[in-house]
């Protein structure tokens, strides 16, 4: 029996398990649906663990053999963390009543798993688009005007990015005839490669395509924010690990993202927007690692993604719990919550330490690998930028977020502690933060290139043997914290937002519209004035008067000779001719002369043409 289930699970892509399960859940009553969703996510973790390395499940589509399951240590580690964080998030959302949200979330997680296990570019693209569509529902579910507009902008950006990606994929397939989702295949055509890279970077929230993330995620529901924070950007990181390891342009892109994330997170007032910028900062770290591209760097990227999903989820859950209890999300409205939400506070502190990379937490054992890789390759500037990034994240997510929510000024908020289900979800994530920090070997055994980390799998090797790393890391974090408190007056929040790149398609589009409106309408008005009001009337006047004027011009010399310049007489004759032309009444002789001239012209023209 066990063998049968194992072989069955070997051949079922976990993506289908979750997506089909999500739609089945729609028809269940509330309680069964919630239990079912949690069970499904847990079963997802089990299903991923049962996958055997190699490629299989190859249905035919449009004459190509798709590969729905490409299993290796990279895809498996992403599979584990995607299902695990979905499990935690669904426990957290126990009190969530919305039928749509659970289904949308499970389809979203399922399609992210689809991308992770896709071995070809067609199924990658299909799951990629399904991710964009299903995640939009998590923003729409908030059901207010702001969220509807944010969802609209979100889906437009992602459909645009999807089209860029599709262009690259089609160009690659046209060039090579192969749909393999591998670096070798993507690098066959430079133009195609660049399209694919930009398409992925839009989803990774790379600067300047970054603003969709802080624009959309904070407008989602409480549960939606927790789910959204984990998948879109991390799936983009996965595809970069697959397709672009060692692509050097990613090093500066990653560094810029990391620093940009710090600056904006420091300026923000809304707690979930702070966390949104914190995601960009962390993804920048990973993208920089992919650009370095060595075995150590890639191991570091996968480990960082794994740990980052855990502590980011934890912090989004905590922000959600605070919002759930207080209905507030701004630093200027929150403060002093440590009195009434002490458990949430402790869990947030664990998340804050982990996100800062403090020793004994998961952040320390994952991010350090990427900085070490930068050092080994002598990328001095990248190393410094990564150090700035890890000091900065301590500042905005490690201290600013908990300080302004739980300490700072007591604003008289006396909300209850977070509901038990929320505490349970957060506790699971907090436990993982510390568990992985204390048992790095557990994480290192599932990530790719783990062979090079053989010497560093034990607690002793990391914390005792290399105590100098621990001490220097502590020193850096402490002084980062010190600068927070030294500059605290400068960090006092105001009720403002900060203008990001979305200005260009929000305000900019409006300006463009009014600019186009003004330019083209003024051209229209000028054209009307010149052509219709000036040119056409004068043309009509000319056509009416031309025959008479021409005739007068012909006769004037004759009249001047014969009438010896009698001006009044000449004037009379001119008037007579004009009136004859306007009424169309001519003496027969004149008509005959004109007809003769006309025939002569025709004969002349006919001759010269033949």
């Amino acid at each position: 029996m066990r063998i049968i289930t194992m072989t069955l699970l070997n051949n079922i892509p976990p993506a289908f398990l979750l997506i089909i399960g999500a739609f089945v859940l729609l028809i269940l009553p509330a309680r069964a649906r919630k239990v079912g969703a949690i069970a499904l996510a847990f079963f997802g973790v089990y299903a991923v663990s049962q996958l055997v390395e190699g490629s299989n499940v190859t249905p035919e589509f449009l004459g190509f053999d798709l590969t729905l399951l490409r299993v290796d240590s990279t895809s498996k580690s992403f599979g584990y963390i995607f299902t695990l964080s979905a499990f935690g998030a669904l426990i957290f959302s126990w009190s969530e009543r919305c039928r749509l949200q659970n289904t949308a979330a499970l389809v979203y997680v399922g399609s992210a798993l689809g991308v992770v296990f896709a071995g070809d570019m067609i199924s990658w693209y299909l799951f990629w688009e399904l991710m964009a569509i299903s995640s939009t529902f998590l923003i729409l579910a908030r059901n207010n005007k702001r969220s509807r507009l944010a969802a609209q902008r979100y889906i437009l950006v992602h459909l645009g990015g999807g089209l860029v990606l599709l262009t690259g994929i089609l160009l690659t397939i046209h060039e090579t005839g192969s749909i393999d989702f591998t670096k070798e295949n993507i690098y066959q055509n430079t133009v195609a490669k660049n399209f694919i890279l930009i398409g992925i970077l839009i989803n990774a929230a790379a600067v300047p395509f970054s603003s969709w993330l802080p624009d959309a995620y904070p407008e989602s529901t409480i549960f939606g924010g927790v789910i959204l924070s984990a998948y879109t950007t991390k799936t983009a990181v996965y595809t970069l690990v697959r397709g672009f390891p060692g692509e050097e342009i990613l090093i500066p892109i990653g560094c810029i993202m990391a620093v940009y994330g710090i600056i904006y997170a420091l300026l923000e007032n809304d707690i979930r927007r702070i966390l949104a910028y914190s995601i960009i900062n962390q993804v920048g770290f990973m993208i920089c690692g992919i650009g370095i591209g060595t075995k150590l760097a890639i191991a570091g990227v996968v480990a960082s993604t794994f740990c980052s999903i855990i502590y980011t989820s934890l912090l989004w859950m905590a922000a959600g719990a605070v919002m759930y209890r207080t209905n507030k999300s701004k630093c200027t409205e929150l403060g002093g919550l440590y009195k009434t939400m002490p458990i949430t506070m402790v869990l947030v502190m664990i998340g804050a330490l982990a996100v800062s990379g403090a020793p004994l937490t998961s952040g320390f054992i994952s991010k350090t690998l990427i900085t070490a890789a930068a050092e080994h390759q002598n990328y001095l500037w990248a190393w410094l930028a990564l150090k700035v990034a890890s000091a900065g994240i301590m500042l905005h997510t490690g201290i600013k977020f908990p300080f302004f929510v739980f300490f700072n000024v007591d604003r008289g908020l006396r909300s209850k502690e977070a509901p038990r289900a929320m505490i349970a979800g957060m506790s699971l994530m907090a436990f993982l933060c510390i568990y992985l920090g204390l048992n790095p070997g557990q994480l290192y055994s599932i990530i790719p290139n783990s062979d090079i980390l053989v010497e560093q799998v034990s607690f002793y090797a990391i914390y005792i043997k290399h105590f100098d790393h621990v001490a220097t890391k502590f020193q850096m974090l402490l002084f980062s914290g010190l600068s927070f408190f030294l500059f605290l007056p400068m960090l006092k929040r105001t009720r403002t937002i900060s203008i990001d790149f979305d200005w260009f398609y929000r305000k900019g589009a409006k300006l463009l519209y009014s600019g186009i409106d003004k330019t083209f309408n003024s051209i229209n008005r000028a054209a009307e004035h010149i052509v219709i009001k000036t040119f056409l009337p004068s043309l009509v006047k000319f056509i009416i008067n031309a025959p008479a004027s021409l005739t007068i011009m012909l006769f004037r010399p004759i009249w001047e000779e014969s009438l010896s310049a009698d001006k009044t007489n000449i004037k009379k004759r001119e008037q007579k001719i004009i009136s004859q032309f306007s009424s169309g009444t001519f003496p027969v002789a004149y008509s005959a002369i004109f007809i003769l001239i006309f025939i002569a012209i025709l004969i002349f023209l006919g001759r010269s043409l033949s």
């Binding site: 507009l149 609209q152 620093v259 710090i262 600056i263 904006y264 420091l266 300026l267 200027t332 002093g336 009195k339 050092e375 002598n378 001095l380 190393w383 410094l384 150090k387 700035v388 000091a391 900065g392 301590m394 500042l395 300490f407 700072n408 000024v409 007591d410 604003r411 008289g412 100098d468 001490a471 220097t472 502590f474 020193q475 850096m476 974090l477 402490l478 002084f479 980062s480 914290g481 010190l482 600068s483 927070f484 408190f485 030294l486 500059f487 605290l488 400068m490 960090l491 006092k492 105001t494 009720r495 403002t496 937002i497 900060s498 203008i499 990001d500 929000r506 305000k507 589009a509 409006k510």
Partner: protein, 115 residues
């Protein structure tokens, strides 16, 4: 002159003591000046100094040994580099953010009339 100085010093200490004894319930929610206690500052400074002094007892491995000519590479091996780096990087980020806020800050209703 000396007595005057003494008086002012006394005043400030009493003010501080008052601030300390103020219970959070008494502070109005509108007030937005976080009070950080002197003992917190003391603890912060002590821990920071300990983390620097710890460097005397550990053997730090050298960074960027291949880049001997690089000034920055060498600086990264200085005593107390990480503390200085954390302080400078964070203060720099805060000042940069503060400077950029002149251009980047907008009212919360800034985008209200846009799609």
């Amino acid at each position: 002159m000396a007595t005057k100085k003494k008086v002012t010093r006394k005043n400030t200490t009493t003010n501080k003591a008052k601030a300390k004894t103020k219970t959070p319930e008494e502070t109005s929610p509108a007030m937005d000046n976080p009070y950080i206690s002197a003992s917190f500052w003391k603890a912060m400074w002590i821990i920071c100094s300990i983390s620097v002094l710890l460097e005397f007892f550990i053997h730090r491995h050298k960074h960027f040994e291949d880049l001997e000519s690089s000034v920055l590479g060498n600086i990264s091996n200085w005593f107390g580099f990480y503390g200085m780096f954390g302080l400078i990087a964070c203060s720099g980020s805060i000042l940069l953010a503060k400077g950029l806020s002149v251009f980047l800050k907008a009212n919360e209703d800034y985008y209200d009339d846009t799609p």
